[in-house]
Amino acid sequence: MSVCISRSEVTGEREDSVECLAELDRRIVLATQAGLPLVSRPYDELAGRLGVPSEQLQRRLRVMLADGRIRRIAAVPNHYRLGYVANGMSVWDIDDLCIDALGERVGALDFVSHCYRRPRHRPDWPYNFFAMVHGHGRDEVYAKVARIAELLGDACRGHDVLFSTRILKKTGMRLRPD
């Protein structure tokens, strides 16, 4: 990485070009997509692997957290093994004029994990709003879906809940190191 680091003649401070930062960020993604090291000073360890100072690595992580490229540095629970065996994708046909305002309100419900606006494909698919709801059983999911229906009121023209019956593949996201 030495070509990337130059000293400003004026200030003497290290200046990293935009390209170099983008390359460093990419290497950070590759180095952490399998997970964060489980050691006392995980960022020092990562920085060591990448050959950059720990402060710089921590700064880049903060930037990526702030701009949303990293949502959180956190644990992803295995909902099946934690007892949340019912995984319901609730789908809704909502008036386009109020979907954004209502979407924000549904997203704020503590039991909704993911919530998006997506295109309809009529006639097969009239729904334009998706909210994932997890529960310990289908009854719990239906009870939560009823609360969403209540919140949506007349703006909702129809809905359905699609339960997953089988995981056919689950590999997670992988950025290819090319």
Binding site: S54, L61, R72, A75, W125, K170
Partner: protein, 150 residues
């Protein structure tokens, strides 16, 4: 369901919210939970080994990283389901794939480097399987943040 003790539960609940960026982040979380850093690290290791946690680390927003993600759905007759499932799963861009109870019964996520690649893969899947792929990209995200209280 695997049994978790009180400490495990506190750890799983706390770690879903996020680890700070500082020199000793595990120590900071351990202090909050009133346990030692060593205990916290050992428990996280065990929760990962037992697959109660699927992952621990930065959670990336693939689209903000420059990739394209799309949810796709297909309507597959039951007698063709296993064949099509195999054909779809063979594409490395298919990140996960679920069978769901609906006429549209196969739902998968395509993770690609660009929108062009996404469209190419969708067309290839249609060609190989002989069935239409319904493209359901997100137009707007209202919330993403799985938090399961345990």
């Amino acid at each position: 369901m695997t049994r978790l003790d009180k400490t495990d539960r506190a750890i799983v609940n706390r770690l879903q919210q996020g680890l700070p960026v500082c020199d000793e982040p595990y120590q900071a979380v351990a202090d909050e939970l009133g346990i030692s850093e060593k205990t916290l690290l050992k428990r996280i290791e065990r929760l990962l080994e037992d697959r109660l946690l699927t992952r621990f680390g930065p959670l990336f927003d693939a689209e903000r990283l420059g990739g394209a993600l799309s949810l796709c759905a297909m309507k597959i007759p039951l007698d063709e389901f296993d064949r099509v499932s195999e054909q779809v799963n063979a594409f490395e861009q298919v990140a996960h794939n679920y069978e769901r109870e609906h006429l549209l019964n196969m739902w998968f996520v395509l993770a690609t480097g660009s929108v062009e690649e996404k469209n190419d893969v969708m067309r290839e899947i249609e060609a190989v399987t002989g069935h239409r792929v319904f493209d359901m990209p997100k137009e707007k995200e209202y919330y993403v943040g799985l938090h399961l209280a345990v």
